[in-house]
């Protein structure tokens, strides 16, 4: 696999010349995908971790760029470059992973695999490692493919023709690329010849697509918070079943709503990825469940950390209306909800104003607590897998704040 070629692609990609305009529209879908841990040491830890697993996972996301299908598309992409379609921003995010702006899922799955692998080297271990790498890669692929599908644009009939055509075309490309990634991941999964694993990952696929329908939405299907309610007990217990996630009594309670949304948005997928690695290694069901819970809580912790960083004073980036600080603030000050209910588009909200109001509440504190709880749970689960270099590296990656 030519990493040199990928570096070359990055440098010469037409996208690099063209993307300058950052409209609010293209920022929309960036929310839960980009992850910028403020730790200075982050890149260093990632590189050390990659040495441990012997695999440059930063490139995991990009192999599909080398495919024939994508080459076919490249011609057509020229037509949409310069438009404000969300897919342009998605492409840039995925391509330019230099600052490790994506949660390093593949890396964690490989570290976990390393942590549980026997020290003896045999044919079985080599095959196992190969399979776990495929699993890590296909998990990333599903994440990217789904993310690209979320980058579709809802086009209203009132839009003028020329713009409409470009948007329609870009939608078409987004569906195709997303589909390509999803079916390629599916093919890799089939080749692993493990139906239990296939079933688990399929349930994650179901969860991730179900998530787009939960809760109120604006006209671009961007999530809106539920009406705040007062519940005595507000928590969300993650269980390991493969049945659809329960939605009763969730909307309006900050911790429950936030946890469920993020379980849909990645927790379930990442959790099943981790569970899968342990399953492939032949461990028993109890171990698998621990891996699943580890993955879910880690994903939640990272998500909380990412949301906290958006509320730091220097940060000017837009934040999601269903991020934890917003939900906590709404619960504390229900009057804030008046502006947010039934909005037509999230871009119509004055985020700076909202940010200022949120800073006056205890929302950030509560979010920090949310991070700590999830991070601690993730740590406690991963510690059950032994005390070795891989586990320790994972723990360092958990501490992003």
């Amino acid at each position: 696999m030519s990493y040199a070629m990928i570096r070359h692609l990055r440098r010469t990609a037409i996208l690099s010349q063209q993307i300058r305009v950052e409209s609010t529209m293209t920022n929309l879908t960036q929310e839960d995908f980009v992850f910028r841990p403020p730790m200075a040491q982050w890149s260093k830890i990632i590189r050390e971790a990659e040495k441990i697993v012997g695999y440059p996972t930063s490139f995991m996301n990009l192999r599909w760029l080398l495919s024939d299908e994508f080459a076919n598309l490249a011609m057509h992409l020229r037509k949409i470059v310069g438009s404000n379609h969300p897919i342009m921003k998605t492409a840039k995010t995925v391509l330019y992973n230099e600052q490790n702006n994506l949660q390093p899922w593949g890396l964690i799955i490989l570290l976990l695999s390393k942590a549980i692998s026997p020290s003896t080297h045999s044919i079985q271990t080599t095959t196992l490692i190969e399979h776990q790498r495929m699993l890590a890669e296909l998990t990333e692929m599903i994440r990217t493919g789904h993310y690209i599908h979320r980058g579709l644009l809802n086009i209203s009939v009132e839009e003028q023709d020329q713009k409409r055509d470009t948007s329609m075309f870009a939608n078409k490309i987004a569906i195709l690329i997303g589909d390509y990634l999803l079916v390629t991941a599916n093919g890799m999964l089939a080749r692993l010849r493990n139906q239990d694993l296939s079933y688990l990952i399929s349930t994650a696929l179901r969860d991730i697509s179900e998530g787009e329908f939960f809760g109120p939405r604006d006209s671009q299907n961007m999530p809106l918070p539920g009406e705040p309610v007062n519940k005595n007990v507000d928590n969300f217990k993650i269980n390991c079943d493969t049945i659809p996630l329960s939605v009763t009594d969730i909307l309006g309670s900050p911790i429950s709503e936030w946890t469920l949304r993020n379980m849909y948005n990645g927790g379930s997928l990442f959790g099943r990825g981790c569970e899968g690695a342990v399953l492939l290694a032949g461990k028993n069901v109890a171990e698998q469940k621990k891996a699943y819970l580890f993955g879910c809580h880690l994903c939640l912790a990272w998500q909380a950390a990412s949301e906290i960083s958006k509320f730091s004073t220097e940060n000017q980036e837009p934040f999601s209306l269903v991020s934890a600080p917003v939900l906590f603030a709404l619960n504390e000050t229900p009057e804030l909800y008046e502006n947010l209910k039934n909005v037509k588009t999230v871009t119509s909200i004055d985020l700076n104003d909202l940010k200022a109001k949120i800073s006056k509440t205890n929302a950030i504190e509560k979010t920090k607590r949310l991070y700590t709880e999830n991070a601690d749970k993730a740590k406690s689960y991963i510690e059950m897998f032994g005390d070795n270099e891989s586990v320790n590296t994972i723990k360092r990656l958990i501490n992003t704040i």
Binding site: E69, L152, I175, N186, Q195, T203, S209
Partner: protein, 419 residues
């Protein structure tokens, strides 16, 4: 053989009904007027009643209503007068839809309940189940089930039943088909399919795309539950082919020869692959040997190609009302299908139109006209028939059974449909 209750027999039949009662029946002759499975009539052999040679022990229950179990559908022996090659099977007909009525009954309901079971979001449920209202042709589940039974009969003889796993594959094939239609509709921005407003007119693009993903996810769960590595591999090939077919549709080829090969590959991937791999999957589940599985695959492949060629043909001949979707649709989408590619030989002025995907004003109308003036339609029909004959030839290699006959009849159904 399927037992026909009296309601399905036309008046002429009841006069001439010679039904022998008892377990050791060898031959009966029943005149049957075939009832169409769905809103439009099946023109199989014209309007008159046809002579059918059937036999079966339970014909005595013809008055008593439908036969209960699947097992009783199997004939103790079937005197076949057909040589198995088209078009000479005028002495016997099997209506595959009627033959499989019990099996196919409730397939859409089961799909809907599987989808419903897998989500707690009512809106997702509505969108996802929208395409499974039973209004479609159900060709894929029918062919899959038919092949399953035919192969079961081939391998195990007359006391074979339809395996639950095989029925799941029939459901899965329909789900994959619908999911791909949903994504196609967003891509093609089509407003009509199957006679009702297409999904994305009612809901927005994002939700629709996600619903498609959801259906595929549930189908994947069902595939995994079959617990067969081979079947999972075979069915995963289907979705890969579907996507690759879509990609092929985006690109275009320069020379005429390349174009036709490109068109055939694309047609295989987009249509035939699903049918071919689904029937192969049920053959695998049956425990059939490699040759039989390959035979099933080739049958499906030829049937699928024939089906799509007829589809492309119908786009040029039928009216909008009969089809449920507007015609010349392919041209308007910029697609050059078989009739156009054939017509190029006589009218090379079609070549630049193809290259620019009929985008210029008047292109669609001109191309439409030229295709009708040329022999393109005839040549397409010929090619479709060729594949149909090949499929029928392959089907004839399976052990004689009503289902095997059904496979042969299906090739003709595909060729003669008007919708």
């Amino acid at each position: 053989m399927a037992c026909l209750s009296s309601s399905r027999l036309c008046a002429r039949v009841q006069d001439k009904l010679m039904c022998q009662f008892g377990p050791k029946v060898r031959r009966q002759t029943v005149f049957v007027k075939l009832k169409p499975p769905g809103p439009s009539p099946l023109r199989i052999f014209g309007k008159t009643c046809q002579r059918v040679t059937t036999c079966g022990p339970a014909c005595g229950s013809a008055g008593g209503g439908a036969v209960a179990g699947a097992a009783r559908r199997l004939a103790s022996s079937l005197q076949s007068t057909s040589t198995g090659s088209l078009p000479d099977y005028g002495t016997q007909i099997v209506d595959p839809y009627r033959l499989l009525e019990d099996d196919l009954n409730g397939i859409y309901e089961d799909i809907r309940s599987e989808l419903e079971r897998n989500t707690n979001q009512p809106e997702l449920n509505t969108i996802a189940t929208y395409y499974f209202d039973g209004q479609g042709k159900a060709l894929r589940p029918m062919v899959t089930t038919l092949m399953a039974r035919a192969v079961n009969y081939h391998v195990y003889g007359e006391n074979s039943a339809l395996l639950p796993t095989q029925r799941q594959v029939a459901m899965i094939s329909e789900m994959i088909h619908s999911a791909s239609l949903i994504h196609d509709d967003v891509i093609d921005q089509s407003d009509f399919r199957r006679g009702k407003p297409s999904v994305n007119v009612l809901w927005n693009h994002k939700k629709v795309a996600m619903a498609g993903d959801f259906i595929l996810a549930v189908a994947s769960m069902m595939i995994a539950r079959l617990r067969s590595d081979e079947v999972t591999l075979v069915l995963s090939q289907v979705v890969t082919d579907l996507v690759q077919g879509e990609f092929m549709q985006l690109g275009s080829k320069e020379t005429e020869n390349e174009r036709f090969a490109h068109y055939l590959t694309k047609t295989y991937r987009k249509t035939a692959s699903l049918i071919a791999n689904s029937v192969k999957a049920v053959a695998l589940l049956s425990g059939a040997d490699e040759n039989t599985c390959e035979l099933a695959f080739q049958y499906g492949r030829n049937l699928g190609l024939s089906f799509q060629l007829v589809d492309d043909l119908l786009d040029f001949v039928s009216s909008a009302q009969a089809m449920g979707k507007p015609t010349a649709a392919d041209l308007r989408l910029g697609l050059a299908t078989a009739p156009v590619l054939f017509a190029c030989e006589k009218y090379p002025e079609l070549n630049p139109m193809i290259m620019r995907r009929f985008q210029e004003a008047g292109d669609v109308e001109k191309a439409f006209e030229l295709v009708h003036k040329s022999r393109g339609l005839e040549q397409t029909r010929f090619l479709a028939r060729k594949h149909g004959v090949e499929a029928a030839r392959l089907a004839a290699e399976l052990a004689d059974s009503p289902y095997q006959k059904g496979l042969v009849v299906t090739t003709d159904l595909v060729l003669n449909r008007i919708k």
